[in-house]
Every structure is written in structure tokens, then in C-alpha cells.
Amino acid sequence: MQIEGGRIPVWLWYALLGIFFWGLWGFLSKIGTDAANPLQMQILFTLGMLPVAIAMLLHARAKLDRNLAGITYGLLCGIATGAGTLGYYAALRHQSASVVTPVTGLFPVLTVVLAFVLLRERLNRVQIAGMLLALTSVVILSI
């Protein structure tokens, strides 16, 4: 991370903001799941997220690609993400946020493996080491 002339670059502020917002999401999810079931949380989550997503899209004024495969993968992304979030909320009902959130944050392990197997993407050494750390952490936290 390069900090030019002692000043923090603009992108880093946005990255920190992203970390804060996502971290806050995990925290609020724990509070919410103490009273609401995963399905209820997912409904509220979707309704809360939609205005932000719509504002983001309106601001971008992007041209909409209507490639059928792109649309299909996009819809599948939304469905898979929603299903995964249900699992996250269910896990939060049984375990503390400080344990569940780092574990579910390991989702790139599957992406990396699937990309390696199906897309023949190469794994770098950092990712291989990360995978070993991830598996070790899951074993430790399962105890």
C-alpha cells in the first residue's frame, strides 16, 4: 500500500469506508437475527439494499448489456448470494458474530477452487497458503 507524500490516497478512504459498511452489516445482522428468523432478515435486507442499488445504478447511467448468458449468470449470482446470506443469518443465530463472520468471509476458497477446476485458472502461492490457513481455521473454530 503506497501512501504518496504522507497523504492517504482517495481510493484507500473508499476501501476503509467499504470495510466499515460491510463490518457494520455483520454487526447489525447479529442484532437482527437475535429476534428475526433468517427468512425475515433476508426480506428486510433485500428491501433495505434495493434503494441503494437503484441509486447506484441511476448514478452510473450505464448502458444495459442484454447478453443472454450475462443475464443468466447475473440472475444466478443474485440467487446464490441470497441463499448464502440465509446461511449466514442462520449461523449467526447459533454463534457469535466475531466467530461466524471471519469464517463466512472465507467464501473465496470455493471460488478459487471452482475457477481452478472449471475455468482452468492458475492458483498463485499466496492463494494456496491462504487456502491452508482457511481450512485450519475452520477446523479450529469447529471444535
Binding site: F21, Q42, T46, A53, G74, F107, P108, V112, L114
Partner: protein, 152 residues
Amino acid sequence: MFHWMTYAAIAIAMWGLNGLFMKLGTNRASAHSMVIWVTLGFTLLLPFLWAGTGLAGLSLRVIFVGLVAGAVNGLGNWAVFACLEKGAKASVAIPLTALYPLCTIALALIFLHERPSALQWLGIGLALAGGAMLSHETAPVAAPEEQLPCAR
């Protein structure tokens, strides 16, 4: 009732699968177009969720917390998009933002008074390091939303 790790595994599996779909999708449509289709996919689940439950019985406080949770997740997505648009290298920014559980942990320790055991701290540390390292891409720059946990 299953062990909590079973539910966490479902999240990892689905979000991991999402990463693959995103890789395939962004090869065929622009990143912004993908956000539209992903958001639509997300809302497609709503009727099924409504069929399984309702919001009756929830306090206004819980409803507010749930709505704000969704909004801040969307804002997180926006911030990471903006981060990459402001010239961040994805190979640096994505592993950095993968550390977002640190923020959740800090908030949970301070406000929810969670106290992980020594063994859990070890697991948490390894998971954080592993998550950041797994997100390290040396190949072509990933689309920003490719790594987003939720409204991808």
C-alpha cells in the same frame, strides 16, 4: 438443528459459487449491467421468502435494524466500486476489503460484549489472514463486484 458451521458452510458454498458465476458473467456483460441483473436475481427470491414467513410479530426496532443492514451492505458495495474507480489496484484493494470481518469483530466486542476463547481467537486470526490471502489475484484485474459478499 444443525451445527452453526453447517449454516456457515452453506454461506461459503453459495457465495463461493456466486464468485464463479460473477467471473463468467463479467466476461459477457459490463460490470454495471451485472449489478442490475444480480439485483434482479436477488429480488426474485423475495416471493419465496414471503411465502415462507412474514414480518408480523417483529418489533419496529428489529425491522429498522434489518433494513439498515441491507442499506449499509449496499453502501459497502458502492464504496468498493468507488475505490476501484479511483485507481486502486484490485490486487491490493480486494484483499484489503476482505478484512471487513475485523470491523464486525470490533463492534461485536465493544457493543455486544462477545468474548471469544483463546482457541477461537487463533481460528479468527487464521481465517482473517486466509480470507485476505485467498482474495489475492495476480492475474487480470477482477471486476469490482466480483468479490462483494452480498449485493454482487
